[in-house]
Assembly symmetry: D3
Homo-oligomer: 315 residues x 6
């Protein structure tokens, strides 16, 4: 009945929202078609769920520091049973979404994805005690490596390097088990919180310590031995990217450094390419290094000049 | 009736709060008088509102990734209509506050500020489809530029460089339209989240990609062409600040670099002053550059020495 | 009655949670015994409480910018009385926890810890007006030092350097008064938010300004004079760590630089060791400096080469 | 390794929680077995979801009063599209759970339940405009029937009788469509909020008004005509329950009153059994009525005595 | 460009949301036009704001019971200054909305409404100490009138009768000052929470106590003297409604009872019409009373019969 | 320094908040002195904590219905261990507050109160399995007693009578153990939610069912046998209150009815005084009863008249 219809909505649309919605739809649909064709869009993993999952896992690993404050020695195992059961099932659901996202359009059935997600969740669960043992060694390394460190509790509580490594060790398990996108989500949550950017693919052995940490970048295929210590703004990167005959990037090749046991890398050093830093070496601050060095090397950068002022650097 | 009055409050004020409140008031009032005189204080923009506004805009641009999880293809346009109408009106209110803050004490009337705020909100709204189109190109650039990137969804979801550029492109519109303080609020929200500090005044063309990103700083008058790629800790800064006859800083002059199309700047490079990096140039990691270079240049830094250990760099 | 008992739980424990909980308990108990023996575990400070406390203190210092939006000139002192009383008592409780954590196992009684916590809370409260006065000078320094800065309000609202210094000045008081772990918690909250890592032990005089700030690291024993300005990625660090006869780190010694009044340090500069940068000196971007320089020095780094492209720096 | 195991937990279990958990499990398992045998327990509907669903439906019916405050004429339809799509899908999920709960152990497959749930959701959606039209008439009846009523907006906003009828009309649709448990959940939410207890099975025609409402009870098989008005504490109940040969209650029979058009029932009246109150009748306050009355009847209770005080009534 | 447009949305609209939104719009617009014509819709008061306002007022009246738990004797006045300033300004805004809603379409200007709202807020504020004094007397009356009452704190904390009277005394001030719709919102919030329905127009003198309270209804023009006590399910109602020549209800006339000082009304009694219950009278449980009684009356109901079972009452 | 002081605050205090705060303080202090003298005010129990505690207890009793939705058979015991440990400790703290509130000013030491609170918490914990067993019988009684009841799950989920009885059985334990104020807080929470007001002192045997429930009031010393069923608006109250020689109420005497096994009381019936309703009796709707009746009685009220309309009952 026309009498009941509203007047033309145009005069009400003072901000022009109607047109903007249409234009955004056109752009969105074009983008989605280029990836998914005309079919239904697969569900995405949920950032909010991943935050809850990581919180649950960290609480399970260090319940006294990151669990609910009401925990007692008598209730901590009960709580862990609850939070792990809940968190692992939520993780299984997110893994399942990642698998389905990948198999979208392929012949893989949803059933296979769900079964594989369950296997991944179980294997991930089994890795947790190993992760905790590694982290205990990491915390001891922090206590030994930082003259300002006062106690185990302070380190667990405050150190961004430890916060980043906790999350990396969890993300790395997911990466190994076949959920690299979720692993990346966890890594970027840690990156945002700490300024430390460790690709979940990086392999890091026990007793690892990053001090201060802002600006550290560790690449996907880096391999780090035992008792390695890094300071802020250290880069373990790729020297250059290989391209194939068509000019496209070659993905997945080993392209980041290997640091053997007991290496120390001081602030701002940049180590690039699939080179090896020999056992016990020290790489000085701000050093730029693109070739392997033997065990026991001490590498430092050239001295700065001290002369008349000719440049700025401010913004 | 005196019998009902409390005893002198001094004995209860164990922490001395009364005196502290008085002293803080004196400091606060002195500070406010130096800026606003004895008149009423103008209302400030609201950080909390700005967070809600940016969340709303990002959800409108990428509803599948950042909108509510319950969205369906059937409801997404309805949701966008709602969230844009709500968000743009909230933005209009905040713009109006910024304008009033600036016109405080001047002859401009509140009415003019409100009318100008409405114009800015409409113009900002109209820019959103263009912003989305630019971002689509940015995402494609990320997919092409990072060998570790697996999918469009992973990039939108996880990449801090993309998160920072989404927010920059929004902030830049506000900067152009005359709301530089709100633009700065948005830029600093992105800075805090990603470690990437892009001044909202910077002009950035399509297909821009920042990888890793922590420590990147891009100055107010920088101009960046198409298909430019930056890595972590790159600075596009000012060489030195000009001062006027009275020794005060000269504000607003072009003082940051121009990067032409297809330039790549590797990690830690510092490029200072109103210089031009010619089309297709590569600036190597940690390079310090204060002069223009022609198209196709490859700039690298001096090699590091490899000798006995004499400095640290730890803290 | 056996008929009412559930069947063996094994078939339900699809994810193997039972075993994981047991293994995590064993690791946790071993770790706790190594630190606390068989006794009861002391309560830890609460991160959540510390966040609330810092929010309360910042609101008390700058109520117009960070207090509740409903504040009016007529209610601001009442609000400050409430929020300070509440916040200082909460702080007293957390200080008491830190003291008990430290005295755990020693002869100190809990009563002494509580009395000391009360003294610390009172002394901390008394320092707040001094902190606000210092911050007012810091804000003025920002306004004078950044050509992009438009207003006092924008600086308080948006500048990460100011956010970090507000929190540092609070943390430093706690450090001096004997609550170094809580001080560190506050410092790391600021670090996570701004990318600026100032150890709470660092001594910083008035009119201090950090621009951009991501990657700045300032060590525990650094001393900074009046009117000093730092840019992003500046390190004021230790040259090397002394070890005692047993190879253990010597803790607590002066090992970080002294910056006299009116020093400027440009982006990426690294200054290491207990050296003195003389009054009014400028340290150029990316400079690496491990020796003292006299007042008025201008230090810059070596020039970069400009030659054929041979390295990357991407990841 | 035994050395890592905690001591027997008994001394820590000061509150005896371990035993209580065991005893509660035994009771719980016994109760569940009596209903579900040894199989898996079916998922229950979620009260929290149902609260969200009802909030969504009420917002869709009266967006100006119960939708988000930021709605504008320009965005209201978009919002409704979003909230209805979201709410109806959530309802479909809850209906599906109710159907599965009922078919638990029967031969019905989960697939059939899901298909049936989808049909119910669609049919429910289609009933919403009819529900809104009925409610518009109810609100008009309230405005005409209450001398204290000032405006349409006040009635929608404040009147518990209207709040209860909105929810009843929604619940009744679910009841008719085959989701009686969810219907009951909605009815009890309204009951808790308003003190008005309308069984979702009750059939109520247009222009219905309950004033004050606390204590009103309307039974499952009651039928109420147009323009009926009830006051607080009115009961439309069953006279007695029929039992079958085994003494079990006969369920589902018509056992509550029929009120024809234009009936008024004053506060505290009790009308019991499958009787008919003829068109236009008035039933006085506190009347007890167990037989039908013809159209136009005026029924009042016996007068109270006025004599010496002999009873209390307090507690 | 057609290629970018989505396919017709019909197949995606499985739930038929599009049609429902259209039908609801038609109904909504028709309803709004009948009240407001084609003009803009006035803003409604906000229930959420009213809840916050009532919480603030109750906290100001009884800060130890209903204020934040961190209040101390030293901070309570500061908190009250803050919460009252905030709450009264929020109330002023809501009063302004109510006045504008009423003056919609009339010649009254928005400016007059705002000025009137400010006057109402000030007058309301001034009434708060009087309200608190009345409530202190009400609480004493509860302590004296209930054999199960143990302490002042228990009564303030737990008694629904006291909760309802606190809110009534606030609502009554708003009613008197000219904001009857907000007054009604407060009354219905109390009604929902306690089951006690007091119209904000009712005049109630000091030392008033309602025990249990569920089902109590007190009409708009009721007048209650000092030291009156009511039990659950008491009605102070209107006998019948007067209609004018056109059959419309006559609104605003005195139509509810007057209870003089020291009257007690036991559970379930119904007192109707503009009658007077003389000083010191007792009205027995379940009594039905429609005529005045002199001071000192004791009214009881007729005795129940005790005979064969012939009716039910269940549902 | 006077120049820094604000101008007199009077012109800013538009709402007169300063005076109101002073007047409220005078009233508050006078009220507190009359109860506590000049000493410190004891801490009050926390309503918010009690809500959390009751939620925790109800979740422990019926985890599938009221626990977190993520519970699985594998995690339910762990969750119960956690939630009970947490909830019982929180309850212990609240009991301790109630005891201290009572012993305020007496010779009892805080230490004794804490020890007594611990005993009460343990004894309360031990009663929980018994409470669950009673509730299982109550639920069965509901299923058998209501022809509209469909399933065990529906009853636990939806029935206000069951919700009230769950809370009563918890409150009753606290009442018996010596925490009557907390018991009352729980009872009033149930009262507000369901309209059913059961004093925590009332003794209620197994298989108890209240249908509909709004307006039910059960007094402190009432005793109810097995298999009793009540309908809405039933009062089990005191006939009159005894006063001592000074006219003060005699508290604590048995003054409410005894209902023997298998009694049914229909809606609106009022039973007053320490009388006994014999086993298996039925009390009809709206009956007013103040004398004992033998086992097997059927009591009904007098018939209503059916004559000309002479009263209203509306409001």
């Amino acid at each position: 009945m026309t009498a009941q219809n509203p007047p033309a909505t145009a005069p009400q649309d003072r901000l022009g929202v109607g047109n903007i919605v249409s234009e955004l739809r056109a752009l969105r649909v074009a983008s989605q078609r280029s990836r998914y064709g005309d079919g239904a869009l697969p569900a995405l993993p949920s950032r909010k769920e991943m935050i809850t999952i990581v919180d649950g896992l960290v609480a399970a690993l260090f319940p006294r520091h990151f669990g609910p404050p009401e925990l007692t020695p008598n209730s901590v195992d009960g709580y862990l049973t609850f939070i792990l059961e809940k968190t692992l099932r939520a993780l299984e659901e997110q893994v399942s979404r990642e698998l389905k996202l990948n198999s979208h359009g392929s012949g893989t059935t949803a059933l296979n994805d769900a079964a594989r997600a369950a296997e991944i969740a179980v294997a991930f669960a089994q890795s947790l005690p190993k992760v905790r043992a590694l982290l205990d060694a990491d915390i001891r390394a922090a206590l030994e490596g930082d003259p300002a460190a006062r106690s185990h509790d302070e380190i667990v509580f405050c150190y961004p390097g430890v916060a980043a490594v906790i999350r990396h060790r969890l993300a790395h398990q997911l990466y190994l088990l076949g959920a690299p996108m979720l692993a990346r989500v966890i890594a970027e949550m840690a990156h945002s919180e700490t300024g430390i950017d460790i690709h979940p693919g990086a392999t890091i052995d026990e007793s690892f310590f990053i001090d201060h940490g802002t600006g550290v970048v560790i690449g996907e295929t880096a391999r780090i031995g035992k008792h390695v210590r890094l300071y802020q703004a250290v880069t373990l990167g790729a020297k250059r990217f290989e391209v194939d005959e068509d000019g496209a990037l070659v993905k997945g090749k080993d392209r980041h450094p290997i640091l053997e046991d007991n290496v120390v890398v001081y602030a701002g050093a940049t180590i690039l390419g699939r080179i090896t830093i020999g056992k016990g070496s020290s790489i000085g601050g701000n050093v730029w290094l693109t070739h392997s060095v033997p065990p026991g090397s001490n590498i430092t950068q050239a001295k700065a000049r001290s002369d008349s002022f000719d440049n700025g650097g401010g913004i």
